[in-house]
C-alpha cells in the first residue's frame, strides 16, 4: 500500500486540538489509576510483607489478575460499571497491582536483617522500624514497581478505547475500523506514536522522582 507522507502534516495540524485532548485524557486516566493502585498496592505490601501466607496470596492474586486479557476484562466490566472512565480506571488499577505489591514486598524483605535488628535493639517500635527504616531503604525498589505499573497502564489504556474509555486508543481503533480509507493509517500511527511518547515521558518523570526522593546514601 502506498502511503502519502505529504498528507501527514496537514492531518496533524487539523487534528491538533483533538490529539492534545485525547493525550491529556490518556495521561490523566493513567495517573488516577496509578494513585489508586499505589494506595492499595503499597498498603497491601506493608501489611503482608512479613506474613508468608498472606504475602503469597497477595502476590498470587495480583498475578492472576494480570493474566486476564484486557479486552475480556473490559467487556466483563461494561454491564457493571458501564462504558468510559469508570471501567478503564478500575481495570488499569487492578492490572497495576502486581508490580506494585510485588516490589513493595520484595523491597521491604530485602532490607538487611542486621539493620532491622539494630533498629529494634535501639528501642524503635515495629511500626517505626517499618516506616522510618525499611520503607525509605525499600523506596527505590517500590518506585520501580510504580514505574513498571505506569508503563503497563499506558499500554493497556489504549485498549480501553474499546469500551469508549478515554485516551489515544480511540485513534488506533478508529484507524483500524476505517482501514483502506485515506486517513486510516494516519489515525493508527498518530495514536501509536503519541502513546509511545507518553510512555517515555512517564519513564523520564519516574527517573526524576527517583533522583529527588531517594536518599543519597542508598542511591546507586
Amino acid at each position: 500500500m502506498d502511503y502519502d507522507l505529504s498528507l501527514v502534516l496537514p492531518f496533524l495540524i487539523k487534528k491538533a486540538d483533538e490529539i492534545l485532548e485525547l493525550s491529556t485524557e490518556h495521561v490523566l486516566v493513567v495517573l488516577i489509576s496509578l494513585v489508586i493502585a499505589s494506595i492499595i498496592g503499597v498498603g497491601t505490601g506493608l501489611l503482608v510483607w512479613e506474613k508468608p501466607v498472606a504475602r503469597s496470596a497477595a502476590v498470587a492474586t495480583a498475578g492472576v489478575i494480570l493474566t486476564i486479557p484486557s479486552m475480556a476484562l473490559l467487556t466483563i466490566l461494561i454491564p457493571i460499571m458501564g462504558l468510559g472512565w469508570a471501567s478503564t480506571v478500575f481495570a488499569l488499577s487492578i492490572y497495576s497491582l502486581l508490580p506494585i505489591v510485588r516490589n513493595t514486598v520484595v523491597g521491604l524483605r530485602e532490607v538487611d536483617p542486621a539493620v532491622i535488628e539494630s533498629a529494634r535493639g535501639m528501642g524503635m517500635s515495629k511500626v517505626a522500624v517499618l516506616m522510618k527504616i525499611q520503607f525509605p531503604i525499600a523506596w527505590p525498589v517500590i518506585l520501580t514497581g510504580l514505574r513498571v505499573a505506569a508503563q503497563l497502564s499506558v499500554g493497556i489504556a489504549a485498549i480501553a478505547a474499546y469500551v469508549a474509555g478515554p485516551g489515544m486508543g480511540a485513534y488506533i481503533f478508529k484507524g483500524l475500523s476505517m482501514l483502506g480509507a485515506a486517513n486510516a493509517l494516519n489515525f493508527a500511527l498518530t495514536g501509536t506514536v503519541v502513546i509511545v511518547i507518553i510512555a517515555l515521558s512517564f519513564d523520564a518523570v519516574f527517573i526524576l522522582i527517583n533522583r529527588l526522593t531517594t536518599s543519597r546514601g542508598i542511591r546507586v
Partner: protein
C-alpha cells in the same frame, strides 16, 4: 587506673531459653552477677549460646524462664522499647542505617527519647570526637562512604548516644581485618576507661577476651559457665581441660602480656642492649631479651632513667608468683 563508673549492675538468675521442637535448651539455667562498670567477656565456640544469652538482656530474645535485673530492676516487666533505649547495642554487622547520614544514625536514640535539637547536635559532635572521627568531616557522610573500621566506630558512637549504663556488644570487631581490629580494641579500652559502662561483650576469640575483659566467662554448650574469672586467673589456673583447650597454645606467653614489668622483681645488675620501659608488659621484656641473644635487658622509667635489668629468671618467677597479685592487668 581510675575508672569513671556510670554503669549499672546486671543480675541474671537461672535464665533459660528453649525453643519449641528443640530437645535441648539453647541456654540453660544461666546465672551471673555483673558489677557496675565491669567489662564481661562471654567466650565460647559458635553455637554455645553466648549470643543468645547476651540478647536476652535487651530482650531481642525473650527468656523462657528465669529473671534478669539491671540495677535491681526486673527488666522482664518493662516495656521492651523503653528498656532498649537504655541499653547500647553493637552487633558484628554494625547495621548502620544506609539512608541516614552519620549524624542522623547517631541521633536515633536521643530523638526517640525526645531530646531537643541543640542537645542532639552537641551530643553527636561529642560522640564522633570520642570515637576519633572528625565531626566536621564525617557528620554529613553516609555509611557507604566510610571504611569498615570507621563504620564500626560509628556503631559504637550510636550505641553510646543516650549514655546508656549498659552496653551489649556482639563480636563488634569480628568483621574487621587484624590491624584495624587491634586498633579498634585499643581505642575501645581507652574509651571504656573513661566511660566505665557495664559491658557484656560476646566473642569467640579468646585473645580478644584476654585483652579486653575485666572478667571472662568461658562457655560450653547450652551456655554453661565452665569458668568465670579474671583473664590472669583463667590463664594461670584453667578450671578444666575444656578451658585449657580454649586457651590454646602459649598460655604462659598470654599471661606475660597481662603482667606489667613493674610487678616483677628487677635485678640490680646492670645490663646492656635495647632497654624496655617499666610500663611495658613482661611479654615485651621477653621479646627484647630474645632479640638481645638471651641476655638480660635494662629497664628504664618513662624518662629513660635506668631502674635495673630483667632476665628470663625474673620473668619466670613473676609467673610463679601468687596469681591474685597478678589480677591487676593492662598495665597501660
Amino acid at each position: 587506673m581510675s575508672k569513671a563508673t556510670s554503669g549499672a549492675s546486671i543480675e541474671l538468675t537461672n535464665v533459660t531459653k528453649s525453643y519449641p521442637n528443640q530437645p535441648q535448651s539453647a541456654v540453660e539455667n544461666f546465672s551471673m552477677s555483673i558489677n557496675p562498670g565491669e567489662l564481661i567477656m562471654l567466650v565460647g565456640p559458635s553455637g554455645c549460646g553466648k549470643t543468645t544469652t547476651m540478647k536476652m538482656i535487651n530482650r531481642i530474645i525473650e527468656p523462657t524462664s528465669g529473671s534478669i535485673k539491671i540495677d535491681g530492676e526486673d527488666i522482664l516487666s518493662l516495656d521492651q522499647n523503653i528498656l532498649r533505649r537504655r541499653i547500647g547495642y553493637v552487633i558484628q554487622q554494625i547495621g548502620l542505617f544506609p539512608h541516614m547520614t552519620i549524624a542522623e544514625n547517631v541521633s536515633v536514640v536521643p530523638k526517640l527519647l525526645g531530646w531537643d535539637k541543640a542537645q542532639i547536635a552537641s551530643r553527636v559532635e561529642e560522640l564522633l570526637s570520642l570515637v576519633e572521627l572528625d565531626p566536621s568531616k564525617f557528620a554529613n557522610r553516609y555509611p557507604k562512604q566510610l571504611s569498615g573500621g570507621q563504620q564500626q566506630r560509628v556503631g559504637v558512637a550510636r550505641a553510646l548516644a543516650a549514655d546508656p549504663p549498659v552496653m551489649l556488644m556482639d563480636e563488634p570487631f569480628g568483621a574487621t581485618d587484624p590491624i584495624t581490629r587491634e586498633k579498634l580494641q585499643d581505642e575501645f579500652l581507652r574509651l571504656q576507661a573513661t566511660i566505665g559502662k557495664t559491658i557484656v561483650f560476646v566473642t569467640h576469640d579468646f585473645d580478644e577476651a584476654i585483652k579486653l575483659g575485666d572478667r571472662i566467662a568461658v562457655l560450653s554448650e547450652r551456655s554453661q559457665i565452665e569458668q568465670f574469672d579474671t583473664p590472669a586467673n583463667i590463664l594461670a589456673n584453667p578450671a578444666s581441660d575444656y578451658v585449657s583447650s580454649f586457651i590454646g597454645e602459649g598460655a604462659a606467653l598470654k599471661r606475660l602480656a597481662l603482667i606489667p614489668i613493674s610487678s616483677a622483681k628487677l635485678s640490680s645488675t646492670s645490663a646492656t642492649g635495647p632497654s624496655v620501659e617499666i610500663s611495658e608488659n613482661l611479654r615485651e621484656a621477653l621479646d627484647h631479651i630474645v632479640l638481645n641473644g638471651g641476655a638480660p635487658v635494662p629497664v628504664t622509667d618513662a624518662k629513660g632513667k635506668s631502674l635495673g635489668s630483667i632476665s628470663v629468671k625474673e620473668i619466670s618467677s613473676a609467673l610463679g608468683a601468687d596469681v591474685s597479685s597478678l589480677g591487676i592487668k593492662k598495665g597501660k
